[in-house]
Amino acid sequence: MTLLAPEHAVLFAKAFAVTVSVTAAGLVLAVTLALPVALALRSGRMALVLPARLWVELMRGAPLVMLLFLAYYGGPSVGIVLSAPAAGVLGLGLYGAGYFAEIWRLGLDAVPKGEIEAARILGLTRDQTLFHVQIPRALRLVLPPATGQAINLLKESAVLSVITVPELTKTAGEVSNLTFSAVVPYLTAAFLYWVAVEALARSGRAAERRMASVARD
């Protein structure tokens, strides 16, 4: 076993940046897509509830690697050709949306009915109530489970290595081929993931504290 050479450390730094950016892009996509899915789940209309429920169950029952294979290797058979990072971000986003939809749904359910009624009586339209009252209030409530889910997505992003996205896990494999030693590169990757996970968990807790200290408006 040898320690990490400087040229390999540079590779890891680049790969870390790739992991952070694909996770961030996947996270934004997931959270955004999840909101309309959650609204559909809560709509009470069968035509909306059914497809939304189907998506959620599909994404929660399927391994991410299967979705990535379908998007990256299966896509071209139906004319959808995506680059590996694009397929990876799309896969992470669709997969994560299944989980975030349930988080949004629970958060929106937990907003007290009185506040919604008050907003409506004050003359806000349904949409205004949704965007100015329900969603901001739900945001605060969903922060702890959303942080946990963001951490899951960060860890799941390692799977993008199997469709050749040059992120941390993929790079660890390449460095291990260069150095003929697998343990140091993979332990390095594990350490970097751990640092990122800790940072996310800590900033989640800090955001929770800050939101809690802001007086209830």
């Binding site: 599909l58 294979f69 290797y73 299966g74 139906v78 199997v162 941390l168 751990w194």
Partner: protein, 217 residues
């Protein structure tokens, strides 16, 4: 897709059985390990508690794919070698133990202190109390979370395909490259995973109803 399944159903079935063996073995091995870790975490002892925290931090804070590769390659730097299936079950067991520990910890904390004191007064040893009094009750309380963990395990087991364990994902890859029909092959595999998820969810509900009918023993 149906002709593809019809032609390759024995291969897919083979993969399905392997997926069930790997995740089932990991779930069962992870159970006593998780209980011990939960007990260590709650013990209040410095060494045992610290070990449980460090263990959880690594196994819950890094991607399972990286853990799997470390477990697979680590023995080789000591001149040893694990068969892929052994490394797969070991890595999944050590991973699920950390997640099961969190589940059991919540369950164990919910058991009334009076019952444990009563058992101690009746002369039961620590281990008897853990396995006869605490574990059965905690198990009943944590069943829903445990079903969720079993599902996560089945999904995670898709990653052992990267070390060439011939479970569903690996079999689908083989079929895809033999037939040049990745979309159909991966869709078939996806359906297999969804079927397992549905069966698991159903079995969980059934078991829960059965246990709650039995009441507290």
């Amino acid at each position: 897709m149906f002709t593809l399944i019809a032609q390759n159903w024995t291969v897919l079935l083979d993969g399905l059985v392997m997926t069930l063996i790997v995740s089932g073995a990991a779930l069962l091995t992870g159970c006593p390990l998780g209980l011990l870790l939960a007990e260590a975490g709650l013990s209040g002892q410095r060494f045992a508690g610290g070990f449980a925290r460090a263990y959880g931090s690594f196994w819950r804070g890094t991607p399972i794919l990286v853990q799997l590769l470390i477990v697979f390659y680590l023995p080789s730097s000591f001149g040893l070698a694990f068969a892929p299936i052994v490394a797969a079950i070991l890595a999944l067991s050590l991973n699920t133990a950390a997640f099961q520990a969190e589940i059991y910890r919540a369950g164990l904390q919910a058991i009334p202190k009076g019952e444990i004191e009563a058992a101690r007064l009746l002369g039961l040893t620590r281990w008897q109390i853990l396995f006869r009094i605490e574990a059965p009750q905690a198990f009943r309380m944590v069943l829903p979370a445990l079903v969720g963990e079993a599902l996560a395990l089945v999904k995670n087991s898709s990653l052992v395909s990267v070390i060439a364990v011939t479970e569903i994902t690996r079999r689908a890859q083989q079929i895809a490259s033999a037939t040049f029909r990745p979309l159909e092959a991966y869709s078939a595999a996806l359906l297999a995973y969804l079927a397992i998820a549905a069966v698991l969810a159903g079995a969980g509900l059934l078991l829960e109803r059965r246990l709650s009918r039995g009441g507290r023993s």
